[in-house]
Each structure stands twice: as C-alpha cells, then as structure tokens.
Symmetry: C2
Subunit: 232 residues, 2 copies
DNA sequence: GGAAAAGTGGAACGGCCTACCCGTTTTCAT
DNA sequence: ATGAAAACGGGTAGGCCGTTCCACTTTTCC
C-alpha cells in the first residue's frame, strides 16, 4: 500500500522518477528481457545476454541497473507482491488448514513457473530492499498461518517457519532439475511434504502421480544450470 | 563382482593400465585434488582449479582426463560403489522397513557429506560408464527394497522408484543451500519425507529439530553455487 | 650408462564474461 | 528551431576457462 504514491498518475506499473521517454522505454524492455531470461534459465544469466536480448547496449543496462541484484530487485518486485499477497489470501480463508495448504501450493507453483523466482525465494539479497521487505512481510503472515493451522488441529505442532524455507530450497532443487523434462514433478514433492506436515487424521487430496521413468531420466540428463555467480 | 580382474595383482585401488610410475602418481594427486574440490564446491569447479590444486599443469590434467565427465567418473567410482553396496545392506536387513529407511538416510547423508556426489546422484552422465553401471545396479536393488517394504506393510503402495530421484534432487537443493550454514537441515527434510512415505500406523523416530532461524538466514545468504557447465 | 619412449608444464589461442570510457545520437525546453 | 543535457552503444581492457602445441625432463629398459 505504501509503494508508488507519486503525483504522476498515468504510470500503471512501476516507473522511475524523472526518466526521459526513450530511457524509460529501454528500462521496460530490459525488465521484460530479464524477466524472460531469468524465468527460463535462472538468475545466472549474464548481464551481456540480458542486454542483447533487450536490444540495448551493455552500457545502458549497467547505467540503469548497477548490479545484478538491483536488476533482480526490479524484475521480481511484482512476484514478491504476489508472494506477500498469498499470505493474506491464506489468512482470509475460513478453513485454516486449507489456507495453509493453499499457500504452500501457490508458492511452490510460483517457483515451478519461474526458475529465477524459485531461486529468489530460496536465497536472500540484502541489497534488494524492496524484495527483502516483502519477504519479511510474508514471513510475518506465514507465522500467523502456521499458528492458525496448528490451532485448528491439522498442522503438526512441530512444524516451524524454517520448514517452509527448507521446502523452498528442496523445491528449487526439483524445479531446476525437472522444469523441462518433468514439469509436474514438484507437485509430487509438495503432496508428500503436506502429508508429512499434517496431523494423523487429516484428510488429504490424492497424490499427483509421479513422472514416468523416462521423464525422470530425461530430467537427470538435462540439468544444465548456469547458476548465479557468487558475485557482488 | 565383475570389476577389475586384471592379472596385475598389486593394485589395491583403481589404477590405470600401463602408466609410468610418475604419471600414475600425478593421476592420484589429480584425483585427490578433484575429490576435495568437488566435495566442497560441487561439480562446477574449473579444470584449471583442479590442476592448480593438484600441483600439475593443465595439460597433464587434460591428457589424463579428456573431459570433465571422465574425471567425475573416476573420482566418484568408489562412492558409487558405496551407493550400490548400500542397497545390498538394506536388503540384508531382516526388517524391510528399517532397511528402507536406513537406505534413504544413508544415501542422503552421502549427499550431505559431498556436494559433488549430491549432484552426481541427481544427474546422469551417459559417458561415465562405470558410474551409470553402478547406478543401474543400485536401481535394481532399490526396486527390491521398495517391494519388500511395501509387502511388509509400512511403505505406502503409491511409493515408486521415481520418488527416490525426486528426493535426491530435493535433497541436493537443500544441501547446496545449507551445507555451510545449517549442515543438519537435510535431516529435517528426510525425516519429513519418511513420514510421508510411511503408512499411517508406522512408528517413526522423532524429527530432527529444524535449524535456527539465524542459521537458515545465513544459509539463504551464502548459496553460491558455481554449478556445472552444461558440458560436452 | 645411454637412447628411446613417455610424460611434463608453460605459452598461445579463441570464447565468454564484466567493467569502464568516449564519440555520437536523441530528446526536451526554450 | 536549436543547443545543452541526457542517453545511447560500441570498443577496449582484464580475467577466467578450456584446448592445443611444443621444447624440455624423467623414466624405463636393454
């Protein structure tokens, strides 16, 4: 709610302060290109590739986004909004357990849909202020989701917020490996994890069937992750 | 059982056919260096780094191991032996369920102990014949482990061999992220997965406590995976 | 003990990436 | 319309990575 309250109205999305028209246009093209590449290949894509894909010079990219983290911050701002919003939606659900499972599934689906975002959720970027603020916000919301679901009796008492991070890291691993060859594999993982989180009597939806043996084999072959430079 | 039945006896370990003494010595140093680096930083370490660590020239490394996969094949041969042997041990256990859980824990522990091996288990290297032979062997054994455990009534009927691969990929993700900051996080994941695999009445050991919030946060900061080039 | 064979490491090369600088083009306000 | 400021993109330098070639050293074997 406290994001862009500029007096300039006609910006539907995020836009930078006093940027010249052509500069703003390039900014948008860069963001679109980066979004595309990050989604498909993870956060490790080289800056030169992003510039090439956006049809701008490397210098322009560097001028607009000084570091990779800055670019990540801008690219994933709206996804992090959706992430934070998902906690609110979960809390609005009258059924605490359904709110909990829905949140887990939503978030893991976001990871599956965007390899870059999968990494963003499993890592932390201290210099990306907007992102980290949203993450903290979501964390607070998730604590409440947990408390409600535990009070409702369907979530085990030993479940902690740290377990979500572990799940996100695990799911990032599965998504990175299977995105192309077995794009539904993550559902299997999540279904099983929910079984593990639930108290004994809890009714659970049937498990997604596992990917075929050949699909899994192809996934084992294709894992080609460029992966983030440990850069600045 | 059908491995090195050479007439040359005095080789205790793996050694190459007619290699000059000093060449063989270098070979061993290369393997040791690669083992060390792969274990700590994953399979993405540069060949130049391996050569430097081994104290040999890059040319020597390339001459001995033409490709990264060849090096991986040699380095992880004994680990894959242990992997295959673990299935035999599991099958020797009179309690099928204990055999199953012990196998899962052993394998995931191997992943946690060696980041390179974690990747090896979650990927496939068609050109690394020795490795893949062992993997196939282990796969056969695992099918039997599953059948026995399901017949015993403690393993759910919907568990499949593909679920092991998914678990290995998930665990590889957790290990890559937490190896330094929260080295026990994988135990939490595995404990929860076993809960998910077990039929309702099955007695299960208590869950490993989750890593502390600060440890998890440090893990989210430090994920710096070089990661394999999508090699030859 | 000496020559041939086997092995070695460094230099050179091409490819890819990042960071920086600089001459040119575009925009915007007057 | 026009000039200054802003933005542009390409070129260059520096760093790794992996591969190949070549003059030199070590081992082996007779």
């Amino acid at each position: 709610m406290s994001r862009s309250a500029d007096p300039d109205p006609p910006d539907d999305q995020q836009s930078e302060a006093g940027l010249r028209a052509d500069a703003e246009r390039n900014r948008v093209r860069i963001l679109a290109a980066a979004r595309r590449l990050f989604a498909g290949q993870g956060l490790g894509v080289s800056m030169a590739c992003v510039a090439r894909e956006a049809g701008v010079g490397k210098a322009t990219l560097s001028r607009r986004f000084a570091s990779r983290e800055e670019l990540i911050n801008a690219v994933f701002a709206d996804r992090m909004d959706a992430y934070a919003a998902a906690t609110a939606r979960a809390l609005a659900d009258p059924d605490p357990w359904r709110g909990f499972t829905g949140f887990i599934e939503t978030v893991c689906a976001m990871q599956a849909a965007d390899r870059g975002f999968a990494d963003v959720l499993a890592r932390s970027f201290p210099s990306a202020k907007a992102l980290e603020a949203r993450r903290a916000e979501a964390y607070e919301g998730f604590l409440e989701i947990i408390a409600r679901a535990q009070a409702g009796g369907h979530l085990r008492d030993d479940f902690t917020a740290e377990d979500l991070v572990i799940l996100l890291m695990a799911n990032a691993g599965v998504v990175a490996a299977t995105a192309e060859a077995a794009p539904d594999a993550w559902r299997r993982l999540v279904g099983q994890m929910l079984r593990a989180y639930a108290t004994p009597g809890t009714p659970l939806p049937p498990l997604t069937p596992p990917p075929s043996g050949t699909a899994v084999y192809r996934a084992m072959l294709r894992i080609s992750r460029p992966a983030p430079g440990s850069g600045t």
